[in-house]
Assembly symmetry: C2
Homo-oligomer: 347 residues x 2
Amino acid sequence: MATMADIARTANVSVSTVSYALSGKRPISADTRRRVLAAMDEAGFRPHAAGRALASRRSRTVGLLFPAVGKGVTELQLEFFTSAAEAAGEHGYAFILSTAPNDDAEVLRLSRDGVVDGLILMEIRRQDPRVALLRAEGVPFTLIGHCDENVGYSFVDLDFARALETAVAHLAGLGHREVAFVNTSAALLEAGYGPAVRSLAGFESALARFGLRGHHVACEPTRDAGLELTDHLVAEFPAVTAVVSINREALGALVGRAYELGVAIPGDLSVVGVLSERLARLFSPPLTTVDFPVAAMARLGTELLIRQLEGGGAGPTQTMFDGALAVRSSSGPAPARASPVLAAAAR
Amino acid sequence: MATMADIARTANVSVSTVSYALSGKRPISADTRRRVLAAMDEAGFRPHAAGRALASRRSRTVGLLFPAVGKGVTELQLEFFTSAAEAAGEHGYAFILSTAPNDDAEVLRLSRDGVVDGLILMEIRRQDPRVALLRAEGVPFTLIGHCDENVGYSFVDLDFARALETAVAHLAGLGHREVAFVNTSAALLEAGYGPAVRSLAGFESALARFGLRGHHVACEPTRDAGLELTDHLVAEFPAVTAVVSINREALGALVGRAYELGVAIPGDLSVVGVLSERLARLFSPPLTTVDFPVAAMARLGTELLIRQLEGGGAGPTQTMFDGALAVRSSSGPAPARASPVLAAAAR
DNA sequence: CTGTTAGCGCCTTCAC
DNA sequence: GTGAAGGCGCTAACAG
């Protein structure tokens, strides 16, 4: 309601003085400053965002582009949203969430309209056209995920290959000989969705390194698909004694179905999930996990963007998180056993 | 990049003509309009949000206030966020998500700064101080939920009392005689959190109406609490043959624990959840539910707010959704049986 | 139907 | 250390 002109009037100074008192970009005498500040909070003054944005040519707003494609939103994205929003808020930035299905148009809309100063992208593919677009538009951005070609921009990602290796190494250490990897959907894999592609690569190289037999199964991130998948595993790969998954929904279904089939976890079957701390807590019994530090990643992604916006020198920062192994099963998992547990369950 | 002045120049018209060509608030000759539009998309023109906001005194932005209190964010809120964001986008509004812990300050910040034109509030308590504040500030708003005193503002809510009645009626119809109601946390209940309070009321009146015995149990919305609760039910209320819950996390845990204990759902125990369609799908076997139309509610809440902003006459609109019963169990649930199933499971 | 012009609230260069 | 003034891009009277 109150404007700088109002404040200036009641404090007997000029508007520019008010402005500088606020920004500190010019020395102000202690006395003047006090009068100005007094006038401000007496009037409940708050600088108007639009005025400031217009004059400074910065909106102090960051946007998160999340194309709400069919594949539904999961708890994992939720954690991203809220953590990113929090981080933005702490730095004095507003946080815009866009679910527009067509990213390209949305990138243009948000940047050209000046509603955001920069963008955070999720659901990155190996060759992502949005990156070129953002560059062409000169819009600062960071990726949660990364492309094959990634010079000159900031991103933060989980090292999925390493995560899978960590998981497989753990299982190999327990004596397992044959393990299954439950990926996300085949469609995403084909589309070059990074996590799907890179986990698979990590899985395969780990198999080779530890001399294990392995099976890769793609699975839609839905409970139904997960149930079907579990039955499929039972039927087709009876010798499998351990499962690792990056697919939270399938994992939930698998654990549930295992109970139904009388397969004890971790007694009969070892299960390792690549999951955030928060998600891991939703499982019972507690699941051994390779930590997916979602909240930290979202925070960092947001902060990297804001650092760019504030001209924080330093150029692109690229951070790959390593998922730490968290063994949560109290009882030891089954070492590879003679009898194929899954097949036994199928009878 | 391009401004209206640029467009005006290349189209040989004045800026106001450009503006009116865009807004349609004044008749423009077909020919002029064509020239203007041509110039616009040749230049890739997009009106700058800050300029527009400053001149029109409206930011075309709505905000969702979601104080990220301790009790963690759930899939349910996620559905709210994305649905609200979607609805806002469809109406040409930007959507801001604020997780600032202190709502009051945030209300002031977002409104006084002019970053939003209106707000959507979640997690409403029976006496919610934010409402008075919003009123005092003259900020348009809608609630997802409602207060005891609620004249003169718009809200959308689920009729939790009715939802519980629907659930209990269903169970009574199946022949159950003793049912448990799993509420959210005792803390929220005491704080006057609407859903907790009103569901309980609905539960109790339904018990009376149908002459059933019932037990009310508050439970933190976490898996661990849910597990504990299940064991508690087993130990304390062995005659209970049916459970209804508005607590998604507890419900998940309860279903899981039931499997562990060898209690078949719905064979041995009937379970009814108050859940969104999407959440219901996460359960297996499918759960009988009273539908919690989260997405529709978020959309409507957002649209009610936007309608206010656009001066859509009509005054406050208050909508209570009725949760429709969706019986998803294929096999018929257990009518009240002589043998206390939960106790049997406990052996 | 179209042009001219004054702001909207703030930032920032230029002058003192 | 402080003022005055121009302008950011757009809207909306006010004049034709």
